[in-house]
């Protein structure tokens, strides 16, 4: 792919200047910390309504409960936030009409698509890292005690869950390309969340790649490494399909 370095530099400039990305970063980081923190705070004080909503986590305590709630929120909210941003990164080129300017360049279109995915991945890892740091601070502020080895394990799982959730949202890029706009990507993201929830309730559990990361973050012993590895195939396979779709793209 020719011009990949230039394409990545350009996508990073666009990502860092974007109000959409800034808003999504705040939504993801502040939203997850605020929800996990407030639910944990209410549960610690014996709020029965909140305890009923927490299900199995109601019986957990301290960091376990706090990070378990964060994982539950991330499972749905994380994929939604990541999917919206990726839909925008790809779909805006069609919606704004700038896609025509990405043709007839020494930078190939598949390099542009790869740059979008690379820029997205860098942003997602940064968001995951910021979230984990804020969760650690939030746990201490909530009086859950110091960050011990068990809490560190939980924070590590949260970091992995965020990164894997970002990967699960990659089909949004493919859909935004094929559908030539933001909405197909956002609709696909919502579809991923709904299907994952339904299949988890139906009992397919961790063998379903879209559900495995969240199940693993909540119950690490219930999900095998093979099941978790399956979920990494989603961004790899669909990411490759996205590059092919950009290479074959025509403005017809």
């Amino acid at each position: 792919m020719s011009g990949t370095n230039a394409a990545i530099a350009v996508e990073i400039v666009k990502t860092t200047a974007s109000g959409v990305v800034r808003s999504a970063t705040i939504f993801l980081v502040a939203g997850i910390v605020a929800l996990a923190g407030s639910l944990t705070w209410a549960a610690e004080r014996g709020n029965e309504q909140v305890l009923a909503q927490l299900g199995g986590l109601a019986n957990a305590e301290g960091w376990d409960r706090f990070l378990g709630v964060a994982a539950q929120v991330t499972a749905a909210g994380g994929v939604l936030g990541f999917g919206v941003v990726l839909s925008w990164m790809v779909g805006r080129e069609f919606a704004d009409g700038t896609v025509a300017g990405l043709f007839a360049l020494p930078v190939s279109r598949s390099a542009v698509a790869l740059a979008k995915l690379a820029s997205y991945a860098l942003w997602a890892v940064a968001v995951a890292a910021i979230l984990v740091v804020l969760l650690a601070i939030g746990g201490v502020v909530l009086g859950l005690g110091r960050v011990d080895a068990e809490a560190l394990d939980g924070l590590g799982r949260q970091l992995t869950l965020m990164v894997l959730s970002a990967g699960l949202a990659v089909p949004a890029a493919w859909a935004a390309t094929l559908g030539r706009g933001l909405l197909p990507g956002i609709a696909t993201t919502i579809g991923i969340i709904v299907v994952a929830q339904v299949l988890v309730i139906a009992g397919t559990g961790a063998w379903f790649p879209l559900a495995a990361p969240a199940l693993w973050a909540l119950e690490p012993d219930e999900v095998s490494s093979g099941q978790l590895a399956l979920s990494t195939l989603v961004p790899l396979v669909v990411g490759w399909a996205t590059l092919v779709a950009w290479r074959r793209l025509q403005l017809d």
Partner: protein
């Protein structure tokens, strides 16, 4: 004989009968400004998209400096500048950042970007908007950004679809001078427009497109170019009806 900067040989890409491009042969030589004129839907934009690889032809070949656009290497594309459809102007970026982004995509090395951006922004009088975000600018100034993005790397093959869209009279004059300078420097320029008087001022050749075919040429020095244009279109329509 020197290779044409841009060439179409038997190009076909039809959407429905009478729309798209239905078999066009065309050449734009080095140093030539070649204008396409035609009614809405005549096939001008489709022809330009085919020449730029934005569409694949059903048959025929489009070439740039002798290279088939379907397989042209990066080095060929590095010599092409275009503005077709919307300008490459991202609303969240400043004018300067937009042009710099285009320069990188056009293959300019990073160390040459600043000087090239300064040069083309001065040519298009964009200096006073350098730090303003594109989203806050008028349509005409976004069009100027699109033109700067298309020309920042001094391309030798230039394709511009309705480049005066949204431009004020000062912008039209700037564009005219800019095209004449680049043509004199050896660039092959294909430009479409609805403004017959304007194309007559810059073009070496004016080709009329109607229903996906080339139906004749206009003399840029002609006295009543509008009448000549409609005569050609009318004659083409007459030939279509049995």
């Amino acid at each position: 004989m020197a290779e044409a900067r841009l060439a179409a040989r038997g190009l076909v890409r039809e959407y429905a009968p009478g729309t798209g491009v239905s078999g066009i042969d065309l050449e734009v030589g080095a140093g030539e400004i070649h204008a396409l004129v035609g009614l809405n839907g005549a096939g001008k934009t489709t022809l330009m998209r085919l020449l730029l690889g934005m569409l694949r032809p059903s048959s025929g070949v489009a070439t740039i400096d002798g290279h088939d656009v379907v397989t042209a290497p990066a080095v060929v594309w590095a010599g092409v500048g275009h503005l077709v459809d919307h300008p490459l102007a991202y609303s969240e970026l400043t004018t300067r950042a937009n042009v710099a982004v285009a320069a990188r995509l056009q293959g300019l090395p990073r160390r040459q970007v600043d000087a090239a951006v300064d040069r083309v922004m001065a040519e298009l009088d964009l200096g006073r908007y350098a730090d303003g975000r594109a989203g806050t600018l008028s349509q005409g100034n976004r069009q100027r950004i699109g033109l700067a993005a298309a020309l920042v790397h001094d391309p030798c093959a230039i394709v511009l679809d309705e480049p005066t869209n949204g431009l004020d009279p000062a912008g039209v004059i700037l564009l005219r001078e800019l095209l004449l300078r680049r043509g004199a420097a050896g660039a092959g320029i294909l430009v479409s427009s609805h403004h017959l008087d304007e194309v007559a001022r810059v073009a070496d050749r004016i080709t009329v497109v109607n229903r996906g075919r080339l139906v004749g040429e206009l003399d840029p020095a002609g006295v009543d170019i509008e009448r000549a244009f409609f005569a050609l279109v009318h004659a083409a329509e007459e030939r279509r009806t049995p």
